[in-house]
């Protein structure tokens, strides 16, 4: 089923007799439950774009490339830098903006510009009863009623099918540069990244790539300002022979690689995404039983490549944070759970919300609800 209007979509949901497998671009390697496939790809088009107000309203099935092209024409972009999962999970197709929102997909700039959920200003969605619900709007400051916008971001379709989203966009800076440090172990790298992120020089990316022996700090802005801040940043690491990468295309390629976890492309094994406090990352990473590691978000995001079926979460006891299974065989997803188990009190609230928004369990095939711990 591929509705072309919100009304059609609402009718399909209202008339559904069994579970629905909701699909955007199908590029993110999400496990689909049983049920009729409901595609959002027919709901396309930019409804409103006001560059002077930094706001974009777009139907959920619109391809991400269409959004990015329209923004680029005005020198703007999605600041949260959504990852492209295709290289990592080996999928084809074309990502949709609704899928980006439903999975709260954010890249390296998340630490400075916020996640997708932070840029999301409004949503329209069809809940499990087939009811169209609107929340938020298209203005940057809005505290009118509860923030269901945040609840829908990253909900993986568990509460409803997104039909339209409003996003805050930002100008593309004039240029960008990377400071590359070498010879650091994970502990030293996280400490160095914390130093950079704790400086006033507005670091917009902080990643450590052990395989390449590189620890990278990104600066963006007007050319003179980038040159100044890159220099000041380098002064924070005396004794390091830091490389100044200033070719904008090389910088862009490097951070696209970080964003898309390029070091893991083409390698066998399961892929996990672990969110922790940066300072907890070096010790934890050693215990994960990983064959390869990559650190983003100043250490707060660990990408781990593990042998198939390995339960990485066992190593996280006593460490606050969560691990999501991003790439694995369906049996592994089923056995270990895609999402991190929640404490019982939180799981009860999550479960309560799912029942209220999806009373007939139409969207229960999605992997939104982690099992209770």
């Amino acid at each position: 089923m591929r509705p072309e209007t919100e009304d059609e979509l609402a009718e399909i949901v209202a008339g559904a007799r069994g579970p629905l497998a909701v699909r955007g671009g199908g590029t993110r390697g999400m496990v689909q439950g049983p049920g009729d496939v409901l595609e959002t790809g027919g709901l396309t088009g930019i409804s409103l774009y006001e560059p002077g107000a930094l706001t974009l309203v777009v139907r959920a099935g619109t391809p991400l490339t269409e959004v990015e092209t329209a923004l680029a024409a005005e020198g703007q972009r999605l600041a949260f830098e959504p990852m492209d999962h295709r290289g990592l999970v080996g999928s084809g197709g074309s990502p949709t903006i609704g899928g980006v929102v439903a999975a709260n997909v954010s890249g390296p700039r998340r630490i400075q510009a916020g996640a997708c959920r932070d840029a999301l200003l409004g949503v329209r969605f069809v809940d499990g009863a087939g009811q169209v619900v609107r929340n938020g709007g298209r203005v940057m400051k809005n505290v009118t009623g509860y923030d269901l916008v945040k609840l829908l971001a990253g909900s993986r379709g568990a509460l409803g099918v997104l039909t339209e989203v409003s996003l805050k966009v930002l100008p593309v800076p004039e240029t960008q540069a990377t400071l590359v440090l070498r010879g650091l172990d994970a502990g030293e790298a996280v400490a160095a990244m914390s130093t950079g992120l704790g400086s006033p020089f507005e670091v917009t990316g902080a990643a450590h790539l052990p395989a390449a022996d590189e620890t990278c700090l990104r600066i963006e802005g007007f050319a003179d300002s980038v040159a100044y801040r890159l220099g000041r940043l380098a002064e924070l690491f005396p004794g390091h022979d830091a490389q100044h990468e200033t070719d904008p295309e090389a910088v862009a390629a490097r951070w696209a690689g970080v964003r898309d976890v390029a070091p893991f492309h083409g390698r066998d094994g399961d892929v996990w995404r672990v969110s922790v406090r940066p300072s907890a990352a070096p010790d934890l990473a050693q215990r994960l039983g990983a064959e390869a590691l990559m650190f983003d978000w100043g250490g707060g995001l660990i990408w781990a490549l593990t042998p198939p079926g390995h339960d990485l979460r066992a190593a996280m006891t006593g460490t606050a944070g969560h691990a999501t299974l991003v790439r694995a065989a369906p049996e592994t997803h089923a056995a270990l759970g895609t999402l991190h188990p929640e404490p019982a009190a939180v799981a009860r609230l999550t479960d309560g919300l799912r029942r209220r928004f999806d009373p007939n369990g139409l969207f229960s095939g999605t992997t939104a609800a982690p099992a209770a711990a």
Binding site: Q131, N135, V139, V143, G145, P171, P200, G221, Y228, R277
Partner: protein
Amino acid sequence: MQMPDPDSRILSRRDAIVERLRGCLPADAVISDPAETRAYECDALTAYRCAPLAAVLPRTTEEVAAVLKVCHDEGVPVVPRGSGTSLAGGALPTADCVILGVARMTEVLETDYADRLIRVQTGRTNLSVTGAVEEDGFFYAPDPSSQLACAIAGNIAMNSGGAHCLKYGVTTNNLLGVTMVTMEGEIVELGGGHLDAPGLDLLGVICGSEGQLGVVTEATLRILPKPEGARPVLIGYGSNEVAGACVSDIIKAGVLPVAIEFMDRPCIRACEAFAKAGYPDCEALLIVEVEGSDAEIDHQLGLIKQIARAHDPVELREAGDADEAQRIWLGRKSAFGAMGQINDYICLDGTIPVSELPRVLTRIAELAAGYDLEVANVFHAGDGNMHPLILFNANVEGELAKAEALGADILRLCVEAGGCLTGEHGVGIEKRDLMADQYDPADLEAQMAVKDVFDPGWLLNPAKVFPLDVSEARRSAQLAAE
């Protein structure tokens, strides 16, 4: 503004309820003497007052849990209170409620500069969070005008913003985790030092839920390194339209100022008379502030001045030093105080798309003329968050009602222009009855469904946010169940 009649069954059990509260709290933490509970009869929306049944001032999360268990058990509504600075009546009591104040919970629990976070008890004031880290070069970004007094608990309840959120975002963008107690007295941990939720983003819906889903007792907040420097520029224009166009051009040019503030002529005149900041007497005044090193500031302000000049300003003044910067901000920061000197006023908080600024300002002036009232405008222009101040005389019979009616018309105008009722103050009781102007019944039903899950008995701050007739079935179901 109507509030529900107090439940006589609760009022008649007052002594027994107070006794149970005393049983779970230190002696000085329960206030029930009517002379003392009056201190909690209102917040900053002072037109509405009602003393609560009792007020409690716990010091720990465990004490909060104990209080909520008792109130849940007794079926007593609970109104959480931070510092009581809400302009929307978010902490307004009813006679049958217990005020749960977090004012004594002010500890800093943890500071971690490597991970760039601070964990505090939520009674701590906004400014004192920055105070705890500024010597080490950090700050907490959301800066509501009431930041000297307002508590983090209230900031989280209302998802407060401030003048600098164009660059740094509002509370929800700077909140990493909370310890929250449900109405049933269960302690729930959400988020922490790590980013994003493992499943549904419950933290995201707690922030801005106006104390209706749980009582937040501790918060993990993101702190940021202080910029090297900041400098404002003052730009005066002969019309609101031109000032609005200048704002839009600045944003489009790719400069991202930390603040773009807008004042109209009535506001400029009042501020000038009050603060003597040296403002020009013109139709519209912009204060634009940028951050960075001296050279970076020079460059950004150069671009901004170039854009400003293209719109033919009547005044263009850059701060030469810290003293001049302070003078430029002085008038703006004393705007509400200046208004308070000459009049009573209602401060509105609607947000509109920036492109609608000139049209909405014109229409506000027309509406005000129709009511024979004066409106001064001062607001965060970069994000379209308006603060029309409706001036009136509370001593004249009927003036408050007239001012409220004009306020409602202006907020409906904001919604009609593609904006919303409130950008950073919250709904409370003030905008409660206008919610149906912004949201369809299904939209409100979806929001109330969230409260059903967190607080099935509708005991937490129940008469706020949703129009009373819309929430009545849920609130009376609670009464019937007793």
